[in-house]
Symmetry: D3
Subunit: 290 residues, 6 copies
C-alpha cells in the first residue's frame, strides 16, 4: 500500500467516506473527517447507509474493510456539539412546555432512522472487516458491532461512552455487544461504567479477534483477510454471512430449517464444481459475479 | 472501610441480610449467616426478595454490592439439612403412596416461588455487583448469575453442585449461566460433573470479570465500581441495565425497536444537558432522584 | 486402557463405528474409517444416527465418549469424492436442463435428513464428550458442536472448511458454533476464510474446554470425565443436559418455567435421598437404571 | 339462586369484591361497587389481584365465576375521576416543567403494576368464567380477556373505550383481544374507533361464546358450566388451562414438548383410574384436593 | 364412487389403514377398525406415522383425504381399554412404590413418540383433507388438527374428551386447536368441560370449513377438493402448505424472509410457464413429478 | 361525495395513485389503472411504497382509505403479462443453462423488495381502511392484509390466486392471512385451491368486517370510519395501531412490557386532558399535530 489506491469512481459522490479498492474485489471504506476525530453528524450516518447499500449490490465487491482516517481515531462517536444543536440530545432542554408524547414520537422516529443507517453495515451482503485504532468510543462500538470481523491496533482505546452523556446507548451497542462477546459480566461492567478498555482486554473477551502493532499493520492484515475471502466462491461466502446472521436471532432448529431451504438453491451453482476442480488441480478458481 | 458502616435503618427489619451504605447512593447487602457458611433456608430467600424489591424502589440507592459475611464462604448454597426436613428435597422419600400429580403440583409451585425470589436480584432496577469469596457453590451460582457484574477473591471455590445431590439445578443456573459466559463446552463440563473451579478459571471463561487478592480487595473494588456507577445519571444507568437485560432474551431487531421506544422518553431528561455541561466544565454533575 | 475393551455386542452390527465400554456405564464410540481419515459418506451418517439413538435409550449407558480411529484424523469431514458422485455436491453440474424447483426439493430433503442424522448426537439423552485430534475439519465441526463437552489433543487442526468447496456449511456448524463460543468476530473469521486453527486457539475462544498432550491423553481424560458423570444420579445428569439444551434456544423466563415443570417430576426420585445419604456417609451411591 | 349464598369467610376481608360459593367447589366473585357502575380505582385492582391469588391457591375452589354487581354494568372501567386526581391520567397536565424521563419511569412502574394486578385473573390456576352485562367498557375488556370463558347477557354494551380519553389501552386489551378472537379487521375497527358493540356482534366474532337473555340467565349458565368443570379431575382441568395458556404464546412444537413434560407428572395421578372407573360404573368420581 | 377403488398396492402392508386412489394423484386413507369405532391402540398410531411418511414421499400423490371406516365414527379416540392395560393411563395405579422420576421419564418418552406419530399428518408434504362423521372425540381432534382442511357430515359429534378421563389432552389438541379457530372463549369452553359439540357449532367457530348432509357427501366433496388441488402445480401447492405451516409459528417478518428464500428456488420451475400458457390456451396443464 | 375531491397537491407526482382528501385529516388513496383492472407492474408497487411512506409522515393525515378506481376491480393483482416479460415469473424459462444459485439470489432480492413495498401499507403509522369491490385477487389479498380494517362491496370476488399460476403467494398473503382470520381450515382451503370466494364468505370468516351494497356505499362507510378515527387523539390512535401490530408477532407478556414503555411517554400528552374535558363539556376536542 505504498501508493494509496485511487477512490472508486462509483463512490466518488460521497462526502464523508473515501472508498478505494486495495485489491481485487475488495473495497476499503474510510470514515473521512480526521480533523474532528471522525465524529459523526447526521449527514454522515445517512451517507454511511448509502455507501453500504451500494456495496451490498456491487457485484465487483466481495469483501469490505472499514476504517477511520487519520492517526488519532477510528471515530470519537457522535459529534456531541452538532447533536446538541438540533438533534435528539437537545430535546431535554428548552423553555417551552411541550407535549411529551409528541416529543417522544419525534425522538422515536429519529432513533429508528439512526439505527437503520448503522444497521446497513450488518445488512451489507458482503463480509465487512472493521479496523479500529486510537479513539473508538460511543458510536464506534455501535458501528463495529455491525461488522463481521473486528481487528484493532494496539493503541485502540474503546469505551461504551453513552452513560457519561446521560443516556443509554441506543444505536445498537446494547443489542449487539452482549451477543458478540461471551462474558456478560464484562459487558455490563463496560456499559454501566463507561470506562475505557484497551486492545488486550478487547481481545481477551473476544470483542476483537486480532490485535496488531499499528493501524497500518491492522489495516494490512484486514486487507489480507478480505482478499482471501474475496478469492472464494461468493455464493459460499455470502450464504455463510447470511446464515450466521440468521443464527444469532433464531433457534438452532429454525436456523437448520432456513439453512436447508437456502442451500437448496445455493447448491445449484457451478462454484462447487469449480472449487472442487481447482482443489484437485491446485489452481485458483474463478467465480462468476453474484 | 476501616469503620464498618452502620446498617441502613430502612433495612433493619431483615434478619439474614445486613444492608449498609459504603458510599453515596451505594448499598451493600451482606448475606449474614456466617456460622452456617451463609447457607440458605426458605426464610432467607423470601427475605432476599424483600431486600432487592426494596432496593429496586429506593431512590437513595443507585448501585448495589452483594457479598457474604465471614471469611469462609459467599454461600454454601442450599442448607441441605433444612431442605431435607420439609422442603422439596424431602419429597422423594416417605412411606405413604401419594398421588404423583399432586406432589408435582406442590413441587412446581415451590420451585416457581424459589426462582421468583432469586430473580428479584436480576429484576432490581439498580445495577448489582456480586463479590464472591471462599465457598460459592450451588445457590451461589444461581444468585450470582442474577447480578450484573461478578467479581471474586482469589480464594473463591465455585461449583454447580446440584447433580451431586441428585438433582438438576432449577433456581436459575441452567437458564442463565450458558448466557453469561461464552464457552458452552465449559458450561456443560462444570454442570454435568459438579466439579470445583477456581477464580482463574472463572475469569478465563468470563464468569467473573475481575479477580482480586482477597475478599477485602474484591469488596473494595466492587464498592469503587458501584460508586462510579452511582455518580452517573440514573436515567442512563438504569436504562442501560434494562436494555441489556432485554437484549439477552430478544432478537437484535426487537431490542432495537424496544430501545427506540424506551429512549423516546428517557432522552426527555435534564440529565443529558447536565452531563454534557459538566463534561465541558470538568465539574461533577448532580442528578435528580429517579 | 492397555487392553482395548471389547466391542459391545449390542452395537456389533454397525459397520463404521466401534462401540466399546471403557468403564462402568460409559460407552466409547469410535468413528472407524481410518484409512480414509474417517471421512463420511451417506451410509456413515445414517449409521451415526442409529448409534446415538440406541445409546440414548440404552439404560446401561450414562455417558458417551466420541472419537476418531487412527492417528491422523478425528475426521476429514465429508468424503468429497463420494459426495460428488451422487450426492448434493454433484447437483450443480449436468448437461441436462432440469427444473430448478424440483432439484431444490430433492436437495432440501437430502439436507434435512443429513442434519437430522448429525443432530442425533445432540438429542442423545446421555452426555457426549467429543475427543478431537489431528485433522478435524468440515463435518468434524458440525458433529462436535452437537456434543456436550469438547476436548482435543495438541495436534488437532480444525477448519470450517465448507467455503473452500463452494458452499455454506449446512449441517449445523453455522447454527451451533456461534452459540457454543463467545467471540462472534472469531466465528465469522474462521467461517468466512475457512482457515485452519489449532488447539490453543480453540481453547482460547472456548470451542474446546481442555487440551491434552496427545490423543491418548485426551481420550483418557474424556473417559475419566465420562466415568465421573456416569457415577452420578442419571436423573440429575440427564435433566441437566436437557435443561441446558433447552436454555440455548429459549428465554430465561421460558427456561425457568420449563425447569419447574421438569423438576416437579424429577425430584420425585429416590436419587436425592441416596445422594444425600452417601454424601453424609462418604459412600458411593448406587442409582437405579433410568 | 333464590337465596343469595353467604360470602365465604376466607374472603370477607375484601372491600370491593364479594366472594360466595354458589355450588360445590365453585367460587363466585362479584365486583361490588354498583353505585359507581363498578368503576375501578387503584385500591380495587390491587384487591382484585389479592382475590385471584387467593383463589389460585384455594384447594376448595376448582372453578370461578366473575361478574359485576347491580343491574347496570359489569364495569364502566377505570374511574376516570379518581384517576385524573392522582393517577397516570393526571400526568399530562401540571404547570411545572418536570423531567420527562423521571415522569416516564413513574408511569411505567404504575402501568406495570396495574397490568400485573389484572393478569392475576389469567394466572389463577382455576378456570375463570366471566359474565358480562350492561355497560362493559374499557377495563371491562382488559379484565374479561384474562378470563378463560366469556359469556354475556343480551343487554351488554361493550367498547374498547380508551382512545376516547386520549390513550391507547395499556392494561391488556391490545395484547390479548387480538389473540382471543379471529377477525383482526374487527379488532382494529373497535379498538381504533372506540365504538360500542353489542352481544350479537360479540358472539359473531367469538369474543363471547354464549349470549343469554338476562344477567340472571347468564350467571346461572356460568355457574352451571363452572359446576360441571368443578366436578371433573382438578389435575386434568388445571393442566388443560395451563397448557392452553402456554400454547397462546409458544409454537406448536414448544407446546408439545412442554406438554409432554407436564403430563409425565400429571399422569401419575389416581384421578385417571377414578375417572375411568366411574365412567364404567356410571358413578360420579370424587377427586382428592389439589 | 359407486365401485370402491382398489387398495393401492404400495400401501397394502398396513393393517389398520386402507389406502385407495379415488382419482388421479389423490390418495384416500381410511382408518379401518370400524368394529371398535376406529379407536386407536399403539400399533395404529405407529402405523399412521408410516402411512403419512410414505405419502409425503410418494410422487404419485398430490393430495390426501383422511376419513374413518363405517357409519358410526371417524374415531372414538384412544382405545381406553387397551391403554389402561399397558400404556400411560395405567401408570397411576400399581401397588409398588416406584421412583416417580423414572416413571416420568418413561411417560415423557411415550408421549413424545405418540405426538410424533400424529404430527406425521401435519408434516406430510401434501395437503390433507380430513372428513369427519359420527363420533369424533379425543384423538379425533388431535388428528384432525394436523390436517390442512377439515370438513364434516351433519351427524358429526365432536368432543375434546380428555378431561373426562382425568387428563389434559397431550397429543396436540391443546397446542393446535387454539391456533386453528378464532374464538378462545369457545376453545376453553370445550376443552375444560369436555362437552359435545356438533357440526353447526364446528362450522360457526371455523373448526370445519364445510358441513355436508352425510358422510358420503362429505367424502365426495373432499375428494373433489383434493382432485382440484392435485390438478395444480405441485411446486405451488406444496410450497403453499409449507409456508402456511411456517407462518403459524413464526412472526410475519420471519415468514416473509423464509418465503423469499423458499420461492427463490421454487420460482425456477417450468410450472409457472406451463400454468400461464394453459391459462391463455384454456388447456389443462401437466406438471412433472415432484 | 357528489363532487369528487381534488387531488392533494403533495401527492400529485404519483402516476398510478390518486390521493384526495374526502374529509378533515383523512386521505383517500385510489389505485388508478382502471383500464387494466388496476393490475400492478413493478413501477406501481414501488410507487405504492412512496405513497404510504409519505402518508406515514404527513401530519395533516390521521386516517387513510385505500380503494381501486373503476367499477370492475379493486385490483386483479399482478399484471402477469408485464411480469412474464422481465420479472421473476420469466425466470423459469430460457434456453441458456444458468447458475441456479445466482438466479436465486436475484429472485430473492426481487421478492424482498416487492414484499417491502407492500408492507409499507402496514408500516404506515396512520390507520388504513381498505375498500374492496369487484375483482380482488392475488396481490389484492396481499395488500389488503396490510390494511388495518377491511370492508367490501357485495360484488367483491376474492381469490388467493397464486397457485393457479404455478407459485406459492410470496408477497404477504401466506404470512398475514392466517393471522387475520380465525379459521385455518378455511385459509388452507382458499390458498390451496385458489377458488373464488365472495363477500358473504369473507364476512363470515372475518376477513372483512363489513359488507356494503355497492362500492359507493362501502367507500362512504370507510370514509365515515376514517373520519371518526381522524377526529380522535392521534397519540391514542397511532399508539393503538402500533401496539396491535406489535401484539400479533409477540407474546402477551412481551406486548405488555412494550406497551408500558410506550405509554410511559404517550401519557405525557395534553390529549388526555383535552379528551376528558371535551367529554365532560360535550364539545369536540382539537388535538395538536403529531
Amino acid at each position: 500500500m505504498a501508493q494509496p489506491p485511487q477512490p472508486l469512481p462509483a463512490y466518488a459522490g460521497f462526502q464523508h467516506f473515501v472508498v478505494t479498492s486495495p485489491g481485487p474485489l475488495v473495497a476499503h471504506v474510510e470514515i473521512h473527517r480526521p480533523a474532528k476525530l471522525n465524529a459523526f453528524h447526521e449527514a454522515m450516518w445517512l451517507e454511511l447507509r448509502g455507501v453500504f447499500r451500494q456495496l451490498s449490490c456491487d457485484a465487483d465487491v466481495r469483501a469490505v474493510v472499514l476504517s477511520g482516517a487519520g492517526d488519532r481515531a477510528f471515530t470519537a462517536g457522535l459529534d456531541v456539539t452538532a447533536a446538541s444543536e438540533g438533534g435528539p440530545l437537545s430535546e431535554g432542554e428548552g423553555a417551552v412546555v411541550v407535549d411529551g408524547a409528541r416529543k417522544a414520537a419525534k425522538l422515536r422516529r429519529h432513533i429508528a432512522e439512526f439505527q437503520e443507517c448503522i444497521s446497513a453495515v450488518e445488512r451489507c451482503e458482503k463480509p465487512v472487516i472493521c479496523v479500529m485504532h486510537g479513539i473508538a468510543i460511543g458510536l464506534a462500538i455501535d458501528i463495529s458491532c455491525c461488522a463481521d470481523v473486528r481487528v484493532c491496533a494496539r493503541d485502540a482505546r474503546f469505551a461504551v461512552k453513552e452513560v457519561d452523556i446521560g443516556l443509554a446507548a441506543d444505536i445498537g451497542t446494547l443489542a449487539r455487544l452482549p451477543k458478540a462477546v461471551g462474558s456478560q459480566s464484562w459487558v455490563k461492567d463496560v456499559c454501566l461504567t463507561a470506562r475505557e478498555f484497551g486492545a488486550a482486554e478487547a481481545l481477551a473477551v473476544g470483542f476483537v479477534s486480532q490485535v496488531h502493532e499499528s493501524k497500518a499493520a491492522a489495516l494490512a492484515a484486514a486487507v489480507g483477510t478480505a482478499s482471501l475471502i474475496a478469492s472464494k466462491s461468493p455464493v459460499a461466502v455470502q450464504g455463510t454471512k447470511e446464515l450466521l446472521n440468521h443464527s444469532r436471532d433464531h433457534t438452532v432448529e429454525d436456523n437448520l430449517r432456513y439453512t436447508g431451504v437456502w442451500n437448496a438453491a445455493a447448491l445449484q451453482t457451478n462454484d462447487v464444481a469449480a472449487a472442487l476442480m481447482s482443489g484437485l488441480k491446485k489452481t485458483r478458481p474463478t467465480f462468476e459475479k453474484l
